[in-house]
């Protein structure tokens, strides 16, 4: 895994960096604006720009971003420049809303450290890609499809609208133990597959309930597998329309909720349509709130808020419908979706 020495202000772009808006720096204390170190992107269909970006992940060295033009871009975290790009093969019915970058065997049986597990939401399936090579201006490089599974339905291994994928990698780092797939649209649940993509079980059903014996989801928008302070791994599910975040064992047993439909709101410790989640090195989580137009740092175990970043708006430091966030080397990269930009900040 590579390292990023620092986040710098710069220009984005593919090949050359001149096509992208200059990044901005600064904050306005006391206004609730986010203290950012760089802002990249801007509305556009050219590399390094975005059209309503909705999903972000990283591969240890660079960021991967999917926008509503169905474009998948690899972005240099220091400059915002595009390093690789491709478009989903089908997007007429809708575009992906979530994905993860994780290791796995490619189509040749070769272990790859970075495969893209894409929730192809409106095609009711998961697509796994080996990313294309370095982007060269004027050339279009396509990724290699490693695997795909799923179809429309509510049976085992079938999906309504897939929202996100989480991969549990074995302790040896050279095997995939399980793949978790979340969905919504009336069949809100999490389906669990083996490393060989065989359906194992699912948990959750549509609803607003908080009864631990009956797990209910209302648009589980994103997931992450985290390691607790005592070394255990657990699955965290952002139950967005129930305005809460759930912690589960890898077997799908509820550990606890933070937030609820009844307590939805914009106060500290409350959530209003949380959509994305990422974890800092100290185990605390950054939650991007689509409805709250902010990022909240929370301690899920203690169920308390540690800080709030951002306010609604279009100005630098303000946020509009932030869908997703990721953390690379303890630096946060936030998709300010309706502003079509990538915000870099040090939480």
């Amino acid at each position: 895994m590579g390292a990023v020495a620092s986040v710098s202000v710069g220009m984005g772009g593919c090949g050359d960096d001149s096509s992208i808006d200059g990044a901005m720096r600064g904050e306005r204390p006391g206004t609730g604006r986010i203290r950012y170190t760089a802002i990249f992107g801007g509305l556009g269909d050219t590399p390094g720009r975005y059209a309503y970006p909705r999903a972000i992940e990283h591969d240890g060295e660079a960021l991967w971003i999917i926008d509503k033009a169905a474009r998948v871009q690899r972005i240099d975290p220091r400059s915002g420049a595009c390093r690789a790009t491709f478009r989903m093969p089908e997007f007429e019915m809708g575009k992906p809303t979530g994905f993860c970058v994780a290791p796995g065997l490619d189509e040749r049986g070769v272990w790859q450290e970075s495969l893209l597990y894409i929730a192809d939401t409106h095609y009711h399936r998961v697509m796994v890609y080996r990313p294309p090579g370095e982007h060269v201006p004027g050339e279009r490089k396509e990724p290699t499809l490693v695997a795909q599974w799923g179809s429309h339905g509510d049976g085992p291994g079938e999906f309504y609208y897939v929202t996100d994928v989480a991969v549990d990698v074995g302790e040896d780092g050279k095997s995939v133990r399980r793949v978790y797939v979340s969905e919504y649209g009336g069949n809100d649940r999490v389906s669990v597959f083996s490393g060989e993509r065989e359906f194992l079980f699912s948990f959750g059903k549509p609803g607003l309930g908080e009864d631990p014996s009956s797990i209910e989801f209302n648009r589980p928008q994103s997931m992450a597998i985290r390691r607790t302070r005592d070394g255990r791994r657990e699955l965290v599910v952002v139950d967005s329309c129930n305005h809460r975040i759930g912690r589960f064992t890898l077997e799908g047993e509820l550990i606890g909720w933070m937030g609820s439909f009844a307590t939805q709101g914009r106060g500290a410790g409350q959530f209003y349509f949380p959509y994305g989640i990422a974890f800092l090195e100290d185990g605390t989580a950054l939650v991007s709130e689509f409805g709250g137009n902010r990022v909240q740092r929370v301690d899920l175990e203690a169920r308390r808020s540690l800080g709030v970043y951002g306010e609604p708006g279009r100005e630098p430091g303000q946020l509009a419908a932030p869908w997703a966030v990721t953390v690379l080397n303890d630096v946060a990269y936030l998709l300010d979706s309706a502003n079509n930009r990538l915000v870099v900040f040090d939480p």
């Binding site: 269909d45 609208y161 649209g185 809100d188 609803g207 967005s240 708006g313 419908a321």
Partner: protein, 1028 residues
């Protein structure tokens, strides 16, 4: 005006001032010889040079200097002709069809190698209108093509003007040089690119051209079909079809009249006419019998025998219209024939040709409407006619002089959803109830989520407006949406519609956020409607169906509160009419007894407003008054359609639709309860309309068919509204002027004499329902001319009402009135007229603007060529800086003459600083004294003149001598006695004061500094004396 002078990066806007410098220099040298004579050689030279520099800088400052920065980058704006003539496959060099537009991207990509760092490219498309596809980006970026608009025309003038307006920046954010590259066949249909090229030449932007070359060697086109503009019913006319063939060709010609194919072949079942065409123009004459009255449309279509004989299928047809006169024909549109049966019988008995059709069979084009002299809408809801049909109907009345009668019923007027419709404009009553009326009202909540729909913001606003415009002023309306900034919120809280300004503002402020869930919003709507003082409560949801609905209690709560919800699923993710989004929206409608609509394709979006109009009617049943039978109150018996009907009274009615009186020229003849209008009529544009708000027979006016004047009632109103025919003979001809059409009317009276002083009021209804007035002016005896625009392809129907002197005894007015109609058709876009490119025009444009005809080979095209370009210069004034430097130099001039710099002493000081120990002040004093003595000895035996001058100084002179300083008098004497001109008077005047101040300062400093200065002056004296 003076030409600018460039010296390196500096530009002088008024370089004439620089010429002053040498003159001043000469003066300065001459003066300097006198005034600087007291200085040493080096000092004098330095002082002189400094003065010259001061002069130069001051002259430079006056000459308006500017700092120039010349652009290094070039932006090429590529204008791609995307019109139909280019977008279609054209014959390639080998004769095979080629789609040239598809090669443009590859060409630009291959040509990008010539670009230098900082160079950019921007793109435009040119068709009927020009659109920017990409602002300047690096040449290798390939932006997607966005909206290009209608492609049935080519407006290169607009494209060049737009290209000139695109800002281009170089890498240093200054302006970049511009080139325009036009890729076109140069067959323009609108505007003049030469006019725009003149602008480009003035802006020094060269236009390079890459001509698209083609030529159709095998082509047949139908130039036009010629028929009489007017004819009588049952008359035989000859339709002449003009065809043009590039080479001899065979094919079949078919003729359609009002869409029905006319049999032309000789054999059984042969509908088409086989034709053999010679190269050049061909005429085929076809005699036909005119079958129906009104506007009759002819369409001639040529089908080649072999596809190779014809290259452009779009120009294989032509249209023409003949107006066939008739004696009164009325269309009755009604959902139930039974309901209008008495009315039809009454009209037929009055010798009016009355045709009854269902709303589904109503005319679908303006031409179809004109086949009737009047139209009756009997209890027809607005959603049964499309928006286009309604607009055509309004134009039919307003522009073509047709008559309209709207007859009531529960589906008519406001209760039928006609509020806010185009037809409502034509009616003599307002469909909103009077403000003061107390009546039960409806409450409607719109839940808006259309962001996922193509052009979702537009359609969202359109449907909201459609629904709101359909509500009456007393109804309640609210609007909910999800906004990124506010979450789930009331864009417009439930409130009375009123004059609609507040809710219209709210509609315009909709942000159409991506709604995650219906739960909160439906609860908000439920709570709002539960509190609303309304009879009917309804919610309409528009969405792509993907928001969540998890609250299982909300739908039962709505149903219990008698709140219905209709759902409009638009452009769902799942187009197969099933799936979770479909299930959610269906379930909401089903469980609350609302309606469900699924709109999948963009082609169906046009039906959305009518859905919302229909749904809005759910809350509008309150506009119907029903009760005990009452006798209508007669208001006006003297109006033309009511003549003779008032005597004996009117039968009773039991119901009607509540409307309001329309101020102005509308005449209300009968009133109902609370003075509501029952019967009204007015003139609307060229046509007339009548409103009868009760029904035709079956529900509210059951006593009317047995009324003795029932037939006269309907006959008089229908005849009043009918288009007048007139007795004058008006011969109409038209002439094609390119984008416009000239109309010529020859007016003759019944005896065949020319009619003068005829007044005309005419309108032309063109393609897309666009209406325009046409003004006819007399240009000769009985001859009148006018012009109207006819640039778009399609049919143009002209109706002119005339008022001529010499009325009949019947009219009693001394004037005769009538209507004359004509039609012009432009069957296909001009794009398809050209059979080859017009590259010559491109070459001329390139020559005009200093551009090039670039190579077909992108590797040698060199699109970013610098040669011939006028590189933009960023010039910033720097006269202030130059003036400041001049001022600083001037001070240096003073310093040179007043401050003595002793290199030896400086060197000594450096030496001391570097190594020697600091000597005691007493030692320094001693050495200085020694120096003074040496100086005295040296000066003693010399120049009496100098001594004499010192003496003249008196006591001060003695002091000065002691100190080896020049006295003030010495200085004064040296200058004033010489009486020399000076160009620095202020400084000279200031010198004595400075000197005094300096002396005072010296005294304050003590003996050490005075001695230093004395030594310096002594040394200067030595040097001067040595030189002498």
């Amino acid at each position: 005006m003076t030409l600018a002078l460039h010296i390196g990066p500096i530009q002088f806007d008024q370089p004439i001032w620089l010429a002053v410098a040498p003159i001043c220099w000469a003066l300065a040298v001459w003066i300097g010889r006198q005034t600087l004579s007291g200085l040493g050689t080096t000092s004098r030279r330095v002082a002189l040079v400094v003065r010259l520099m001061v002069i130069l800088l001051l002259a430079g400052a006056i000459a308006k200097p500017q700092w120039r920065r010349e652009a290094k980058s070039v932006n090429v704006t590529v204008v791609v002709d995307a019109s139909d003539s280019v977008a279609r496959p054209v014959p390639g060099p080998d004769g095979k069809p080629v789609e040239l537009l598809k090669r443009v991207d590859q060409y630009l990509e291959d040509a990008a190698g010539d670009a230098k760092p900082g160079d950019t490219i921007s793109r435009l498309t040119a068709a009927a209108k020009a659109y920017v596809q990409s602002l300047p980006v690096t040449p290798r970026e390939k932006p997607d093509t966005l909206f290009i608009g209608a492609t049935d025309g080519t407006n290169l003038q607009e494209a060049v003007a737009l290209a000139l307006s695109i800002p281009a920046k170089d890498s240093e954010q200054g302006a970049a040089a511009k080139r325009i590259l036009m890729i076109s066949d140069w067959n323009e249909t609108t505007g003049s690119v030469e006019a725009a090229a003149a602008q480009a030449r003035a802006a020094k932007v060269p236009i390079d051209v890459l001509p698209i070359r083609y030529k159709f060697d095998q082509e047949v086109k139908v130039d036009r079909i010629v028929v009489p503009s007017q004819a009588r019913m049952g008359q035989n006319v000859v339709a002449r079809v003009l065809l043009h063939a590039v080479k001899p060709a065979r094919g079949k010609l078919s003729l359609l009249i009002n869409g029905d194919q006319v049999r032309l072949g000789d054999g059984p079942g042969e509908m088409d006419l086989a034709v053999q065409l010679d190269a050049g123009d061909n005429v085929v004459s076809i005699p036909v019998l005119l079958p129906t009255p009104g506007a009759t449309q002819f369409k001639a279509v040529f089908t080649p025998e072999t596809a190779a004989d014809d290259s452009i299928p779009q120009n294989n047809q032509s249209l023409a219209v003949t107006f066939v006169q008739s004696q009164g024909r009325v269309l009755i549109v009604a959902s139930s024939t039974e309901e209008v049966a008495p009315m039809r019988r009454a009209l037929t008995d009055s010798k009016i040709d009355a045709v009854v059709r269902s709303p589904e069979e109503a005319p679908t084009s303006l031409v179809d409407w004109t086949t009737f002299d009047s139209v009756v809408l009997a209890n027809v809801p607005s959603d049964k006619l499309t928006q286009q049909q309604q607009e055509d109907l309004r134009n039919y009345v307003h522009d073509l002089g047709g008559g309209l009668l709207m007859v009531g019923g529960p589906n008519s007027f406001g209760a039928g959803g006609w509020i806010g419709s185009p037809v409502a404009d034509a009616l003599p009553v307002k469909l909103d109830p009077p403000q003061q009326r107390k009546m039960p009202r409806g409450a409607l909540v719109l839940l808006m989520h259309s962001c996922e729909v193509p052009r979702g913001n537009y359609w969202g606003q359109q449907v909201a407006l459609a629904a709101v415009n359909n509500l009456s002023r007393l109804d309640l309306v609210g609007m909910l949406e999800y906004s990124f900034a506010k979450g789930d919120w009331w864009v417009h809280p439930i409130n009375e519609v009123g004059n609609k300004s507040a809710v219209t503002r709210a509609i315009n402020s909709l942000t159409f956020g991506d709604m995650p869930s219906f739960d909160n919003l439906l609860n908000m709507a439920y709570q709002g409607l539960s509190k609303a003082d309304a009879g009917a409560r309804h919610i309409i949801i528009i969405s792509d169906g993907d928001p969540q609905l998890m609250d299982q209690t909300i739908l039962p709560k709505c149903r219990a509160a008698r709140i219905s919800i209709s759902t409009v699923l638009v452009y769902p993710h799942n187009r197969a009419r099933s799936g979770p989004d479909w299930d959610t929206m269906r379930r909401i409608a089903r469980e609350t007894r609302g309606n469900f609509y699924g709109i999948v394709d963009e082609g169906e979006f046009a039906t959305l407003p009518s859905i919302f109009i229909k749904e809005a009617q759910v809350v509008k049943r309150s506009l119907i008054w029903e009760g005990d039978a009452f006798t209508p109150t007669l208001v006006s018996a003297v109006s033309e359609p009511m003549r003779g009907l008032a005597t004996g009274g009117f039968p009773k009615l039991t119901g009607y639709v509540v409307t309001a009186e329309r101020e102005g020229l509308s005449v209300v003849s009968l009133r109902g309860k609370e003075s509501d209008p029952l019967l009204a009529h007015w003139q609307y544009g060229l046509g007339k309309s009548v409103a009868f708000t009760s029904d035709a027979s079956v529900r509210w006016s059951v006593q009317w068919p047995s009324w003795g004047k029932y037939r006269a009632f309907w006959e008089q109103h229908v005849r009043w509204a009918m288009r007048p025919t007139g007795n004058a003979d008006m011969r109409v001809t038209t002439e094609d002027l390119g984008d416009r059409t000239k109309v010529v009317v020859e007016a003759l009276d019944a005896e065949g004499d020319r009619l003068n002083f005829v007044r005309f009021a005419g309108r032309v209804s063109g393609p897309g329902g666009v209406s325009q007035p046409v003004e006819l002016r007399q240009v000769g005896p009985g001859r009148y001319e006018g012009v109207f625009d006819s640039a778009r392809s399609g049919a143009y129907l002209m109706t002119v009402q005339y008022t001529a002197p010499g009325g009949s005894a019947e009219s009693g007015s001394g004037e005769q009135r009538g209507t004359v109609q004509a039609a012009v058709t432009r069957p296909y876009a001009d794009e398809f007229r050209s059979l080859q490119d017009n590259a010559q025009l491109g070459r001329r444009i390139a020559e005009m603007t200093g551009g090039r005809v670039v190579s077909d080979d992108p590797r040698t095209a060199n699109l970013w060529e610098r040669a011939g370009l006028n590189m933009p210069v960023d010039a910033r004034p720097i006269w202030v800086i130059v003036a400041c430097v001049g001022l600083g130099t001037f001070l240096m001039d003073v310093a040179v003459r007043r401050v003595r710099i002793d290199p030896a002493m400086i060197a000594a000081a450096i030496r001391r600083g570097l190594g020697q120990q600091v000597q005691q002040a007493g030692q320094q004093l001693g050495s200085l004294k020694e120096a003074r003595e040496r100086a005295q000895q040296a000066m003693g035996p010399r120049g009496d003149g100098a001594t004499g001058r010192r003496k003249a100084g008196g006591a001060d002179a003695a002091t000065a001598k002691t100190k080896f300083e020049a006295t003030e008098d010495e200085l004064k004497g040296a200058k004033t006695n010489q009486a020399m001109p000076t160009f620095e008077p202020e400084v000279q005047k200031a010198k004595p004061a400075q000197s005094q101040a300096q002396d005072a300062a010296d005294q304050a400093e003590g003996g050490l500094s005075r001695l230093k200065k004395a030594r310096e002056r002594a040394q200067e004296k030595f040097e001067e004396d040595d030189q002498r």
